[in-house]
C-alpha cells in the first residue's frame, strides 16, 4: 500500500465509522457521564424558556433543546409522519386538542403514562383533560395536559369608541350575552364606524368554531365516531349564526393565521377576535407595541367555550423515555403551568391554580390591564368537554372551506349547507 492509498483508506474508514456513529444516534449521550439531550417538539409559543433553565439547573446532565413550528398544520403533518414511521419525533412532543383522538389510534407508539404514575396526578386536571388523552378502553394514556383554551372575546377599545359603542369591558360584556346580541351589536358597530374597510369580526370561521365548541358534548362525530353533522343541532346552530354574520356583512373575510389576517391586526381591519387565553400572546406579537392599551378583553357570548389546548407526550421512539417522562411531569405540573401562563398567557388545566393569587390577580397591561386570570378562568370553569372524532380535522376543514366560500360570495348561503354536508361526508371517509 502506498502512502496515498493508505490515506484514502483511512479517510474512507473514518467516514464509515462516522456514519455508523451518527446512525446510532444518542449512543454517545449515554456514555459520557449520564448527560442527556432532550428534544422538545412544539407548535407556536408555549413559554417554556425559563422553565427549561430551571429544570436544567435542578437536573444536572440534562440539556433541553426546543424546536417550535409556527404553522400548526405543518406541525401536525410532520408529527403524523414521524409517529406513523415511529422515528425522529423527538423526546417530547405537543399534541393539539383537535389531534388527540387521532393520535390515540396509534397509542402503542406513545409511552403509556399510566405505567408512570398517571393515576396519582389524574384528578388534579380538569376531568376532560385527563380523559381526552386516554384510549376508549381506559388502559392507555398518551399525554399530560398543559393548558386549555378557555374562551373570551378580545376587542378594540378605540374602534368601539369611534363606532359609538361603550368601551368598558363590563359594559361591553353586557352588549352580548348571546350570539344573537353579538350580531346585533355588530350591526350597530358597522353603522357607527361608517368605513367598509373596518369590520366587526375577523372571519366567519373563527366565530363559527367558537359557537360550535360551546355546543357541548359532541360536534361532527358521536362517540362511536359516526358522522352526525345533520342530526346534531349544535352544528346547525353554529352554521346558521355564522351565516347571519356573513349576511350582515360583519366579517373581514380573512383566513385565520394567514398573512393577511396577521396584517389585519396591524392595520386594524377588524374590531373583535374570539380569544382563547393563548391568543393574547399572539395578538400582542402581531399587532405590536403600537396597539398597547387599545385592545381589551370581555367575556364571550354564550358564556364559556374552548379553543385549543395541548397535551405533552413521549413517543416510544425516544431514546430517553425516562428523562422525557420526568420532564413532561414537570412542565405540566403547577410550576410548569404557572410559568407558561406568566410568559405566554396559557391558561392552566389544573383547577387548583385557578384560585391562586398568581391567576386571580393577573392583569395584562397590553390589554388595558384586563384581569386575564379572572376572565379566562371564568371561561374555563364553564368549559364543557367536547368529543372530537379522529376525523375531526378534515371535517372541520371541509366545513370551514364551504363557509369561507359563502363568505367570499363564491356560493350562495342556501347552497352552502348542502355543500358542507357533502364535503363533510367525503372528508369523513
Amino acid at each position: 500500500m502506498n502512502r496515498t492509498k493508505r490515506i484514502a483508506a483511512a479517510a474512507v474508514s473514518s467516514l464509515v465509522v462516522g456514519v455508523l456513529a451518527a446512525g446510532c444516534g444518542g449512543s454517545s449521550d449515554d456514555g459520557s457521564g449520564g448527560s442527556v439531550t432532550l428534544r422538545v417538539n412544539l407548535f407556536g409559543q408555549f413559554g417554556y424558556k425559563d422553565l427549561y433553565k430551571q429544570y436544567e439547573s435542578e437536573h444536572p446532565g440534562v440539556k433541553i433543546v426546543e424546536s417550535a413550528e409556527g404553522d400548526l398544520g405543518k406541525y401536525n403533518t410532520k408529527l403524523s409522519q414521524q409517529i406513523a414511521a415511529n422515528a425522529a419525533a423527538g423526546d417530547v412532543v405537543a399534541i393539539e386538542e383537535g389531534q388527540t383522538v387521532n393520535f390515540l389510534q396509534s397509542a402503542d407508539k406513545f409511552v403509556n403514562l399510566q405505567e408512570h404514575g398517571f393515576a396519582e396526578i389524574k384528578d388534579d386536571y380538569l376531568p376532560f383533560v385527563a380523559s381526552a388523552a386516554t384510549t376508549a378502553d381506559g388502559k392507555t394514556t398518551i399525554g399530560l395536559g398543559t393548558d386549555v383554551g378557555g374562551l373570551a372575546m378580545c376587542y378594540r377599545r378605540d374602534l368601539f369608541e369611534k363606532a359609538g359603542l361603550p368601551t368598558d369591558r363590563e359594559e361591553v360584556a353586557k352588549l352580548w350575552p348571546t350570539w344573537e346580541d353579538f350580531i346585533a351589536t355588530g350591526e350597530k358597530f358597522q353603522a357607527g364606524i361608517g368605513d367598509d374597510k373596518i369590520h366587526f369580526v375577523d372571519a366567519a370561521t373563527n366565530t363559527y368554531n367558537s359557537i360550535l365548541m360551546q355546543g357541548g358534548d359532541e360536534t361532527y362525530f358521536d362517540r362511536d365516531n359516526k358522522l352526525v353533522v345533520e342530526s346534531n343541532p349544535a352544528v346547525m346552530n353554529a352554521w346558521g349564526l355564522a351565516n347571519d354574520m356573513i349576511e350582515a356583512k360583519l366579517t373581514a373575510k380573512l383566513v385565520a393565521f394567514s398573512d393577511e389576517w396577521n396584517a389585519g391586526f396591524k392595520n386594524g381591519s377588524f374590531a373583535t377576535v374570539a380569544c382563547p387565553a393563548w391568543m393574547t400572546g399572539y395578538i400582542k406579537g402581531q399587532a405590536g407595541d403600537g396597539f398597547a392599551g387599545k385592545w381589551d378583553i370581555a367575556t364571550v357570548p354564550g358564556g364559556g367555550g374552548s379553543w385549543g389546548g395541548s397535551w405533552l407526550s413521549v413517543p416510544k421512539s425516544s431514546k430517553h423515555q425516562k428523562e422525557a417522562i420526568e420532564l413532561i411531569k414537570f412542565l405540566s405540573s403547577k410550576t410548569g403551568q404557572l410559568g407558561a401562563f406568566k410568559s405566554e398567557g396559557r391558561l392552566p388545566s389544573l383547577p387548583a391554580l385557578y384560585d391562586t393569587p398568581e391567576l386571580k390577580d393577573a392583569k395584562n397591561d397590553y390589554f388595558n390591564n384586563a384581569p386575564t386570570g379572572q376572565l379566562f378562568v371564568a371561561g374555563a370553569k364553564n368549559l364543557q368537554p367536547v368529543y372530537l372524532g379522529a376525523k375531526n380535522v378534515p371535517v372541520r376543514d371541509a366545513f370551514e372551506n364551504v363557509l369561507r366560500s359563502v363568505e367570499n360570495g363564491q356560493r350562495s348561503a342556501s347552497d352552502g349547507w348542502g355543500e358542507a354536508v357533502k364535503a363533510a361526508q367525503k372528508a369523513a371517509k
Binding site: G73, A263, A390, E400, K426
Partner: protein
C-alpha cells in the same frame, strides 16, 4: 494456476456488473421500492396512524376516477402549468438572445437572471402572497390608482392561477434562459454575421436563426418544465397561507394534484387513497414525458 485462471475469468464477467451496481442498488432502494410499496398501499384501505385496514383491490382507483375534487385539482394543475410554461419559455428564449448579444456587464446580467432561482421558494411564496394580497397587496394598490376595484386574487380561479404562474415564472425564467444561452453559444457566429450582411433585422435573426437552432434545447427545457409543472406544490401552498392552506382556496380553486395528495394523506389520514393519487400522478407524468419524447423525435427527423 487453474483456480486463479477461473477466478480471473469470473472476475472479468462479474466486475462490470459490480461497477454499475451502485446505481441499481440505490435506484432499487430509493426509486423502485417506494414505487412498488406505494402501489401496494394504494390497493389497501390504509389509515396513516391506524395502519392497514384491509385489502380493497382497485376500489381506491375506482373512487378516484369519480372524485370531482381530484379532477378539479388536475384541471388546476394543467391550467397553471400551461399558463406558466408558455410565457416562461418564450420569455426565456428572448432573454437568452439578449444575454447572448453585445451587452455591457454581461456576466453581471447572466448571474442576475439566475438570482430568483437561488431564492428560497418559501420566501418567494410569502413575498408574492403579500404582493397579491387582497386588502393591502401592492398589485391591488397599483390597480387602485387606475380606478380598478381591488381583486380578490385568491378568490377566483383565473386570478389565483395567474398569480401562481407569475410566481413560477419569476423563479424559473432566468434558469431556463441560462440553459438556452448555453446552447445559443454553440450556434455558429457566421450565421448571424451572414444574416446581418444580408440586412436581416434583429427580430428576423431571432426568428430565423435562434429559434430553429434552439429547438432541441427548447424541447429539453419544456420536458423539465412539464415534470416540475405537474408536480407543482410549494408555490400554490404558500400562496394561500393560514389554516388549511393545503385546500388551495375555499373551493379548491388553486389546489394542485400534489396538494390534493398531501391533503388526503395527512389531513384526511387516508394513506391508501393518497397512494392512489400518487400512482395516477406518476402515470400522468409518464404520459407527458412520452408525448414530449415523441415530439423530440419528430423534430430530430425534421433536421
Amino acid at each position: 494456476m487453474r483456480i486463479r485462471d477461473r477466478f480471473i475469468k469470473t472476475e472479468a464477467r462479474v466486475a462490470p456488473y459490480a461497477f454499475v451496481s451502485p446505481f441499481f442498488i440505490v435506484f432499487a432502494i430509493f426509486g423502485l421500492f417506494p414505487l412498488l410499496y406505494t402501489l401496494w398501499v394504494s390497493l389497501h384501505d390504509w389509515s396513516l396512524l391506524a395502519g392497514d385496514q384491509g385489502y380493497v383491490g382497485f376500489a381506491n382507483y375506482r373512487e378516484l376516477m369519480q372524485d370531482p375534487d381530484f379532477w378539479r385539482a388536475l384541471t388546476n394543475t394543467i391550467g397553471i402549468f400551461v399558463l406558466a410554461t408558455v410565457p416562461q419559455l418564450i420569455l426565456a428564449t428572448v432573454l437568452a438572445q439578449v444575454l447572448n448579444g453585445k451587452l455591457r456587464g454581461r456576466t453581471f446580467w447572466r448571474m442576475g437572471v439566475l438570482l430568483p432561482n437561488v431564492t428560497s421558494v418559501a420566501a418567494v411564496g410569502i413575498i408574492f402572497g403579500l404582493i397579491f394580497a387582497r386588502d393591502y397587496g401592492i398589485v391591488n394598490w397599483a390597480l387602485g390608482h387606475v380606478g380598478v376595484e381591488p381583486i380578490d386574487w385568491q378568490g377566483h380561479r383565473w386570478s389565483s392561477w395567474l398569480a401562481i404562474s407569475v410566481m413560477v415564472d419569476w423563479r424559473w425564467t432566468g434558469y431556463n434562459a441560462l440553459i438556452l444561452l448555453a446552447s445559443l453559444q454553440a450556434v455558429p457566429k457566421e450565421l448571424y454575421e451572414a444574416a446581418r450582411i444580408d440586412g436581416a433585422s434583429a427580430w428576423r435573426q431571432f426568428w430565423s436563426i435562434t429559434v430553429p437552432m434552439l429547438r432541441p434545447t427548447i424541447i429539453f427545457v419544456s420536458i423539465v418544465a412539464t415534470i416540475g409543472g405537474v408536480q407543482l406544490f410549494t408555490e400554490p401552498l404558500l400562496f394561500g397561507s393560514g389554516v388549511n392552506a393545503i385546500a388551495g382556496g375555499s373551493t379548491g380553486q388553486f389546489q394542485t394534484v400534489a396538494m390534493y395528495l398531501v391533503q388526503q394523506a395527512f389531513t384526511g389520514q387516508r394513506f391508501g387513497y393518497a397512494s392512489t393519487v400518487a400512482w395516477v400522478l406518476f402515470l400522468l407524468i409518464a404520459i407527458f414525458a412520452v408525448i414530449n419524447v415523441a415530439l423530440l423525435r419528430r423534430i430530430k427527423s425534421v433536421d
